[in-house]
Amino acid sequence: MVDAPEPFWIRERRLGAGITVIGLIATFVFGSLAESKTARFTLSADASGAAISINGQVGAILFGLITVALGVVMLTGRARRWQTLLLSLGILAFVLSFLCWQVAGKFLPLVDTLDGSLEYALPLILGALAGVLGERSGVVNVAIEGQFLMGAFGAALVGTLATSVWAGLISAMVGGVIIAAMLAVLAIRFLVDQVVVGIVLNLFALGITGFLYERLMQPNALKYNQPPKMPEWKIPGLSHIPVIGPVLFDANLLVWLALILVPVIHLALKNTRWGLRTRAVGEHPTAADTVGVRVRGLRYVNVLLGGVIAGAGGAYFTLVSTGAFNKNMTAGAGFIALAALIFGRWTPFGALGAALFFGFAQKLAYYLSVAGSPVPNQFLNMLPYIATIIAVAGLVGRVRAPAADGVPYVKS
């Protein structure tokens, strides 16, 4: 091969430059704003008990400098193999620097933070998994929000009428499936643009749940809108493990369902006939068709399964979180789930990670607003959206959707 000069600004260097810049911001801005008081990170749900303590200002500067160092390593362009690790560490150090600044002179209960992050993340995980199922087989699902709403509504209505949380959960799944079925029929059978269908179905779900809420639930909440709450189960022994015990093993069924579904879907996609065919249909449907795979049938199955999962995610809002249905109560969570799906690069574990990250951002926003932080919580709440924009713009590695995602399959 004839030699040609390699461009200097390869992706690693660009990322390194970015990390260095945020590291400098952390060091100087966070460092100078932080009070020189102890920041306590307690290992419990309140201010008591053992804690990790650090001087806020020192911590902010220290972690800022670590961020800068990691950025500089990437800038040298010599650590391409470790790029993802360095990037994650850089972002982590930045977040820690930020926390040191914010928590200086106060305390941050870690168990409560983790618990809250997981709770915020819960519907996001389920919604994003629903998206994974549909999109890996080639059907774009922007109707997660609508599936959430229908799920939440179904859970509240049937849960109240049957006074059973389980009947509520099943109805939530049915609610999700109704929207999924409309999406599937319109997108697969009638070849309507999948993004258009998704958006319109969201409005449809918003309208119909809002309409029925105002007609049925509002006038007679006792009869229609007082579902039982999902019980929290404690697993003896395991729930006493410090920090993760109370978070993971003193929880409701939905948490376990979400956490189990992640590896299950991951393994199934990778190692089963269904998974191989799903991926083939999402990448190259014609190739799958020519070897006898039922392209449309598989897409129907996956979208409907997704509806079940997203519907269960909707149940979170009424059976776990607030205990009653309200108009437009999901307030865009379906779109954050979509963001988690994309940010997680259409993989179950990626979606889990993204959902937890976004859940953490939401929890932190809540904590900061309660703690009277000068940082407006609206800006922290923007984090999932901005992170997703950065991800799709290719600044943090290229995200690639399945090749046939959103493309209806028409023979010949």
């Binding site: 004839v2 000069p5 191989l276 083939a280 190739a287 070897v291």
Partner: protein
């Protein structure tokens, strides 16, 4: 409804059991009759060539045989039994396999995964867990049995086309096919790879498998086929034996005596118009596609670039026209650098461009003929300016060009998608050749075009040369390059291996296309 199939049905099932019989297959797309009562019989162990030019209806026919399309009329009989193929599943069950012209492989899957897909080895009962080990073993077994080396663990997207084709054939063979359809399998192969494929086909036939070989290349048909069915405009026009001469086959194929030669006088080369040196270009995946090319095209001559598709021709042309950035080297048009100039400016400075993929790059199918005729001049007087279009000038221009270039359409206001392939290509040719040019670049100028239009387009290219334009023709059809060019540059793996005269024996050009140079090649690493 059986049309014209009576004779063969009487003969079938007697001494020779027929592997496959098609009776009166008819397929319409709207008003278009793609297949018009086609009858074909294939015997066991036979290599049956289906010969026809582009658009004759060969692929449509085979897609019906493979269950991708359903015939409107007619019957398909496999081993004497009438079958209805609603989907490829049914065809596979009946022992039919197909290697498509565009490979049906999932690029991000491994070879083994692609071969397993649809016929997976699984364990774990209803869980359907993939048995990768068994799958891998099956692949290797089939691969060794038929002498088709494939690496089961390689990702398909990283394989060269020749290897991908082997994967396709292995994929079909692991499904125990009795009848294998190969749709234009040699289009992407070098002459040497083609010979290897023909040998594989022969040995498969000897094991008793039947092969339907779809092609428009006469040479290959004569080399391999036991029988030849010629299809023209959706109809069977003849069943011939391989003894039939090439000229006769060609005449059957296109329906009249055709001269495969392009008539032209000697070139009168003038100044150097396009000078390229040391050009390096990467493809979309960042892999080196053009690897240090030097080329000169002179006014009044046709420089033909020969080579098997995928050896960097596409990227070379895209770089010249400004559609693709370059990594190193220089490109000059009359001593002015083209690098970084931008496609629009290059086109406006007297470069004409016929892209290789007409429907993808050449025309906007939803636009009218008139709009397509100004597609790269819409913001220039008289058609318009930076702000507005001059609808009247656009329409007037269309009226003129439609007559001049013999574009067959009822109205210039009709969408280009309503035109035949040949007429669509004439729209592109008319657009690019109706302004003063210094350089004309024609990439695969007659791909998917009927014979009448091929002659017309070839004559236009020669006419452009004779008016003093420098012409660069890129084609993977060696016949076309030899017919048009005054000099031929043979491209292989991103490099020009040699520039030769069109009078050079075809076999030697073929060797060059396969990367084999007679003189020991100096390696400029």
């Amino acid at each position: 409804m059986v049309g014209g199939g009576q004779l063969s049905s009487v003969a079938s099932g007697q001494e020779i059991p027929l592997r496959l019989e098609l009776r009166g297959i008819t397929k319409r797309f709207g008003d278009l009759v793609a297949n018009d009562h086609i009858d074909i019989t294939v015997e066991p162990g036979e290599v049956h060539a289906l010969l026809g030019e582009n658009g004759a209806g060969k692929s449509t026919l085979m897609n019906q045989l493979y269950g991708l399309l359903q015939p409107d009329e007619g019957e398909i009989l496999v081993d004497g039994e009438a079958k209805v193929f609603r989907s490829p599943r049914d065809a596979i069950a009946a022992g039919i396999g197909m290697v498509h012209q565009h490979f049906m492989l999932v690029p991000v899957f491994t070879v083994a995964e692609n071969i397993a897909l649809g016929a997976e080895d699984v364990r774990g009962g209803p869980l359907g867990i993939l048995d990768r080990r068994r799958n891998r073993r099956d692949v290797l077994e089939t691969s060794q049995k038929y002498g088709l080396p494939v690496d089961p663990d390689a990702l398909v997207e990283n394989l060269p086309v020749g290897a991908q084709q082997r994967v396709e054939i292995v994929k079909a063979l692991t499904r125990d096919v009795d009848l294998l359809i190969l749709d234009e399998p040699t289009a992407v192969l070098t002459p040497q790879e083609t010979d290897e494929l023909l040998a594989v086909m022969r040995s498969l036939a000897e094991t008793g498998k039947s092969i339907v070989f779809i092609t428009h290349k006469l040479r290959e048909v004569k080399a391999i086929a036991d029988r030849i069915t010629v299809i023209r405009r959706g109809r069977t026009v003849a069943t011939a034996s391989p003894d039939t001469s090439e000229d006769e086959l060609a005449a059957l194929m296109v329906g009249r005596d055709v001269s495969l030669e392009v008539s032209k006088g000697p070139a009168e080369p003038g100044r150097d118009v396009l000078k390229i040196s040391g050009l390096i270009v990467d493809d979309d995946r960042g892999v080196r596609a053009v690897d240090g090319v030097d080329l000169t095209v002179r006014a009044g001559e046709v420089l033909g670039v020969a080579g098997v598709q995928g050896n960097g021709q596409t990227e070379l042309v895209e770089a010249i026209i400004g559609l693709r950035g370059i990594r190193a080297g220089s490109m000059e048009l009359d001593n002015e650098s083209l690098a970084g100039m931008g496609t629009k400016k290059i086109l406006h400075s007297g470069v004409g461009y016929i892209p290789e993929d007409r429907s993808h790059d050449g025309v906007v199918k939803e636009f009218s003929v008139a709009e397509n005729l100004v597609l790269d001049m819409y913001d220039r007087p008289p058609f318009g300016n930076a702000f507005r279009l001059n609808a009247k000038a656009v329409a007037d221009n269309a009226g003129e060009r439609v007559g001049q270039f013999d574009i067959r359409t009822t109205s210039a206001e009709h969408a280009v998608s309503t035109l035949s392939g040949g007429n669509q290509q004439k729209v592109v040719v008319a657009r690019e050749m109706s302004r003063p040019l210094r350089l004309m670049i024609a990439s695969q100028p007659t791909r998917g075009v009927d014979v009448g239009s091929i002659e017309f387009i070839h004559n236009q290219i020669i006419h452009e040369r004779d008016s003093g334009t420098a012409v660069l023709v890129v084609s993977s059809e060696l016949d076309e390059v030899v017919g048009l060019a005054d000099r031929i540059a043979v491209m292989y793996r991103g490099r020009i291996l040699a520039t030769v005269s069109p009078d050079m024996p075809r076999e030697e050009i073929g060797l060059l296309m396969a990367g084999i140079t007679s003189a020991p090649q100096e390696d400029a690493e």
